[in-house]
Amino acid sequence: MNTPDDTSLRQMVSLDKGLTVERTRLLSEADCRLIHEGSCRLLSETGVRVESDAAVRIFREHGAILYKDRIRIPRAMVERAVQQAANTIALHAKNPDNHITIDVNTPAIYFGTGGQALNVLHYENSEFVRKPATTRDLIEIVRICEQMDNVDFITRPVEPDVSEEEMDLTKTRILREYTSKHMNLANLVQTDNLPDIIETVGDPLLISFIASLTVSPLNLVSPTTDKFLKMVEHDIPVSISSCPQAGTTAPLSEIGELVQVNAEVLSAVVLANLVRSGARVFYRGIPISADLYSDGSPRWCQPESIRRVALITDLTYFYGIPCCGTAAVSDEKALNPQTVAEKTLSWVFEAASGAQFINSALGMLEQVLTVCPEQYIIDDMALTLIKQLFNQSPEYNVRELAETAVSEALGLFDVSVQPETAEDISDRIDFILTRQEDYSSETVNAGVELIQEAVESGRSSSKFMRAARTGLRSGWLYKGPRMEGSLDLTEVHNIRNDILAT
């Protein structure tokens, strides 16, 4: 909408160290318009529950309607905000060579770290041991990532183990000292600390944030929304992050989940642009799934989640809002062949989609709960390989490239792909590329109505799970084997030791 120029939908253009690829589109313009229609219906008919009094006041002053405890946002307000939102965001770094620019008209792909992991895997006495993350871990990981060619920016990987009052400034000082790359501080622990953070870094262009202000379905929560308002007031770039889980906090249906996550992100895009027209916000939708085969935990790196996160990129291009991508958050708890395989598929499809400013792309295990120094090095090696494959074949076939990438990435760690593994990888790629549902007004409306029923019932997770039974039996959640075996990490350990010895 913001940039109707169709050429930008097809061709990536390299910027700085960015990767140049031709976009693989999984949603057409017409599909995106259907999703947009459904999201506008949700926002105007159901609305979002907004906990922040300040945000409620801003919405109402500009024409949104407070009905019971929800803010209903008229379509015109949504479309005006989309037009107003910045379409170029400059992210500076201490070393000017590391500046990056996210521009919807000349897009480029950048990878960075991510997360707020609670645990770190440490290699001790020939085995990995899981321990709570500490300040020392934060320093070591940042030092390692500073040396990684494929880490274009640093999103704070773990919090320092200091008091809440000290957390914001401690992590800011650590990032300022140990990295020359752009610093994404992720969250703001205490709103009042923002001026001190800006003073500590000197130049506000050096930092950005992620605001996870939505709780699905359709809630903008406090205090994150109040922190978000402060970030926008200070004109600091911020990614609007929404991460519903299909089957528990959103419909299992891909269409239904997209309609919902899009409405959630757009509600915050509206709020940001009411505070500051031309707000520098990224669209970060992470429509993953819930593991309805076992305990309902999130599935970040399974085929349906990889596909849905890639579909979000199409929506960001449709709107012309800078994209904050998400990739390679492994569901595995350990460094193993399955981790490498699922991460590789995620990188390939997220890059092929044309996602930019790709967060969480290195180091992450066990959904978002754990990181590991060695995993950053493994991921950097694999990303080098993937970039080489894209660069070797600008007219790439995404299926062939993905198969080759998985096989060669595993080969880096002395794992050969057996026939049964090759079959599973092929099945996963098929699943990512295959549309399970028809995109039509009927299917979009069915999604909207389920979300409305779920919100009105007050027991949304129960509604979504009950409704998921049919989709589960239709195969909407991938089911397949996982790879066994181990990786040869001799070189990885050596790299880690060399970096930390200096």
Partner: protein, 224 residues
Amino acid sequence: MSDILEQIRKNVIEGRIDSADEGFDGDMAGEPGVIELVNRGLEDSLSPDTILNEAVSPGMEEVGRRYESGEYLIPDMLAAAECVSEATKILEPLLVDGDINSRGKFIIATVEGDLHDIGKNIVSTLLRGAGFEVEDLGVGIEAREVVNAVEKSQAKFLGLSALLTTTMGHMEEVIELLHENGLRDKIFVCIGGAPTSQEFAEKIGADLYGADAFDAINKLEAIA
């Protein structure tokens, strides 16, 4: 077994609360579900304990078997447990003392500052299906409010949920307040949620850690 009892049993297995539910295959909307069938059974002069013991409970037992065998998944279990809960709501006031075996009262809440309710709701539903009397305080509940509810209700069990690292500390606050009010020895405290662990449960002095909803139910069924 009468036709109506068999229909109730089948609908519990299928997890169809009412006639609006389409069922597994999406083709059963309009057919009576558990609520309509239980009411019809009562109109046909079936006794509440017959409906409960010969249709509802056997249906749920079959669901448990299918879940154990892998044929059924979480949503199927949840849907069936909701059917049991709805049937119980209709039948319980009509039962005479001794007809229903409650495993005890269970208070459940998501702690202060945390609005996540999925885990709590799944556990609540499964607890009701397993015969516990559940009082759900909701989300974002302050320690004082939890302790007041415990004091007022004389519940045997307390379940606390948190999904955020920044809110899990409130679980310890609740336990400390229970101690201060002389209630700690009278209640069995269970905790769960993504950032929690067995180690954390031991650290804060909780009695039971549920790695997920089913782990919690299995452990509780073993002791209640």
